[in-house]
Amino acid sequence: MAHQPRGLCVSTAAEHLAFASAARQAALIREKRISPVELVTIYLDRIGRLDGHLRAFITVCSESALAEAERAQAEAARGAWRGPLHGVPFAVKDQLDTAGILTTSGSALLKLNVPTEDSTVVAKLKAAGGILLGKLNLTEFALGGTLRFPYGQPRNPWNPEHDPGGSSSGSGIAAAAALCSLTLGEDTGGSVRSPASYCGAVGLRPTWGRVSRHGCFPAACSMDQVGPLTRTVEDCALVLTLIAGYDAKDPTSSRRAVPDYRATLGAGVKGTRIGVITELVDGAETQAEVRGAVREAARGLAALGAMVEDVSLPLIPHAGGVFMALCDSEAAGRHKPWLSARADEYDAGTRRRLVAAGLIPAVPLHRAARARALIREQLLEALGKFDLLLAPTSPHPAPAISFHTAPVTSKEEAARRFFGRRSYTTPASLAGVPAISVPCGFTAAGLPIALQLMGRPFAESTIFAAAGAWENAAGLVDRHPPIAAA
């Protein structure tokens, strides 16, 4: 082992390495300046110290990860490189199947579920040399609104009394608090982008069909999409390059060629046309600190050469309600046998959400299906004029955990809690277009704020170029959650 940064500040060096990007770590392994065993050991130590409180992980694969790291180390010593992630530890949302490893989808109903096959995305990361470090916590069945997490309450690393976002809660925490090198989540209506926003990480929802869903427990099949949650835009691009592509096991996956998304990261935003969605930036629900940070980011992108102007998309405020009706009715249909036979094993929040959607009559539901087409048409029309659309990822920073556990006392409150904020992330889901969440500032209380960039179908490269340019200009990558440094 030839790890160089030694000396008295061992813990500082380990901390520094833990927060380094996966791309940087992979390069250090190639240069034999660090070893896979050292990297895995650093993360296992951090998980041991921090995750008892943060609860990012449901399962930590300590023994198998160390064994894989030793194998990767031996291969590296003889120059046998598996791929771009050789020796790099990753963790995935527990919605993704892993051969021989417990896969719960965050539910007590699946507390004994051990798949026999890896999901396609996990198999691809392993084939690229990645080492599976563990399975990450999530809201039950990736639906959001869990009241009691069966595998522990996940907490925001910037303030543990606050929500880390969901449904890919553990993925957001693990990326932001440097509990592994990179993570995967799954985004149906914002489940990658929301935890990225609340935790100060980078999260991408790829174009629907860009990434195989084989081995991913469905939330709503017509909108589910697996995506990376990482500390940097470059890592996001690296992971998408590795997991994207056609899969015969998923008939909805696209046969389009997969570009090297990292290759165009440096393209910048000069001449890129960006529309700022006024209904989301200036909407009544958008808190002033969020509005200010996102407007400032838009000015920053303009200063980098983008052509930025406001655009109105009046159907956007309907997106949250339309999405919830379509997503939850799909989920209610899938869960019906278990709801009838094992209702008490569900978390109460999940059960109420599924049953409510199961009772929506057909005619209003058909209205939602037609409205999805209208919203998609409006978004795509705007993306004909603009290369990218910009909005806050969330109208507010991470709320207190207690906000989610308070009883729902009226239909107005139900609409506000369950539809309102979802109108920010669900337009991309309804339209099937790619969208990224990137940090763009902090509130006075020290909670992260994020902007969202949506692009044309299969135009992830344009998104990465703009997000990367913004990330470089903003200089927020080196700001780490205080709890992670404790």
Partner: protein
């Protein structure tokens, strides 16, 4: 349309073989009424002009 109450929800759920306890029925009524309001508001949109295709990015370009 008048809001549905917990008893309505219990009857509807029973017709689908979905067992409900008291606490669930009250919250589900609020959630279902919120859905019905949000979806009723869509009637002001030109829905007849839109075919209800699901997501299909390959068909866009």
């Amino acid at each position: 349309m008048a809001d549905l109450g917990p008893d309505d929800v219990r009857r509807l759920a029973a017709s689908l073989s979905l067992p409900l306890n008291g606490e669930d029925a009250t919250e589900i009524a609020h959630r279902l009424n919120a859905f019905l309001d949000a979806l009723a508001a869509l009637d002001t949109l030109p829905l007849e002009a839109a075919e209800p295709w699901p997501t299909s990015p390959e068909g866009y370009v």
